[in-house]
Amino acid sequence: MSWLTQTLSSSIGKKLVMALTGLFLTSFLAVHVAGNLQLFNADEGLAFNLYTVFMTTSPIIKTISYGLYAFILIHAFQGFYLAYQNRQARGKVTYSKVDNQSTWASRNMALLGTVLLVFIVVHMAQFWYDYKFGQLPFKKYTIELAEGKIVNTETMPEGYMLKSKLEEQLSDDQKTKTIIVKDLYMIVDRAFANLPLVLLYVLSMVAVSYHLVHGFRSAFQTLGINHPKYNPLLDFLGVWVFGIIIPAAFAAMPVYFYIMHLLH
């Protein structure tokens, strides 16, 4: 297998690793944003909390998520190593004056990546760690089945424990059902009352935007995909979908909660 390590440690191989992990992380973002849109559901967090349960219990998703953690680490460390190596290639003396003909984002992927790494640590400590290992309150939703309406919600008392993350129960008359679920929604809601945190999130999404505007297209270039017929599509996806729409949707979440808090 020496050819494989040789390939992956070559300059193009290193790029390939960055591209493949990067594209995976990008595709994760698409899934993540789709799920998180549940936050905007006016259902007191039911859909969002159910989605969270699904994400943390499905064996497939769990496997993928371990891959995800690994890819984040590989992408980050490979990125730092490459940035270091690339810096070394310039030599001790650098130019005294530079009039760049490239985009700012393309030159600052390592900086943007660092911002994102810090963000990911904060983000995971806050929500993921709390959800997995912390003491989260449970919430009980009562739903009327005929119209699918939530007729009652109730936060369970402190210290309430459930064996699983979710408990569903049909009422005896079969007209309503109750769902008891870990209430991450509330944690989110509470967290985004904090202005500095909201700002950190928004700023990080700006970083995501810049990172992806360059990164998405760049990953395809590294994979050897650069063709006048398909470049417009890649540009559209890279700039509009991954560079603007997705980060904007993410950024809208903390802002939304913050505004809600202000209004109440």
Binding site: S11, I12, N86, G91, T94, Y95, K97, D99, S106, M109
Partner: protein
Amino acid sequence: MHLTLKVWRQKNNDSEGRFETYELDGISSDMSFLEMFDVLNEKLIAENKEPVAFDHDCREGICGMCSMYINGRPHGPLQGVATCQLHMRSFNDGDTIVVEPWRAVAFPVIKDLVVSRTAFDRIVASGGFVSVNTGNAQDANSLPVPKEAADHAFMAAACIGCGACVAACKNSSAMLFVSAKISQLALLPQGQAERKIRAEKMVAQMDTEGFGACTNTGACSAECPKEISMENIARMNREYLGAKLTSSAV
């Protein structure tokens, strides 16, 4: 025109360099940038000072010898033009012009603005050729080459090997140069026999020389005096990865 020149002076690769400032009068806008340097050097000689060493030869934009990093850009402010084809009409009276050598570990400074680019030769020697001994060739027209392939190969082959791509890249990457050669030969039927091994060897040599890796900023192509396209780098990536995956070398 009156100009202030800030020029990098360095005795050799072992010594430290520094900027020297020179004032220059009576520069005509029809002069080429290098002729302006000729005037500077004549002036320095008259003052018994050592003239500035700079590389230049054909002065018509094709030999690739000239290599000045002018006001923060390789080959100066114009697109698609080598230093020798840059004329003073691109500058204004009273301008301050900063001139530095190419800066890359793989391009050590020889003196002042002169650097060594033999790394490029070694990369070509590692595989940038078709192995055809003299006299082996069949009739030139026995193998038709689609015009489009020939044209694309030509556009890649137009590279003059000046090293502006390396100078422009924040990573000092040589991928535009290497990919131009790999592309030229990958596009032509004559290059097929050694297609895989060529890509593998040239990339390996490029890495050995100490060039950085590409981060697709596109600065190389934007600064290339022959406007070599980034498509070549994509093609090289394909060629290299394809070769690595399928060649018989384990």
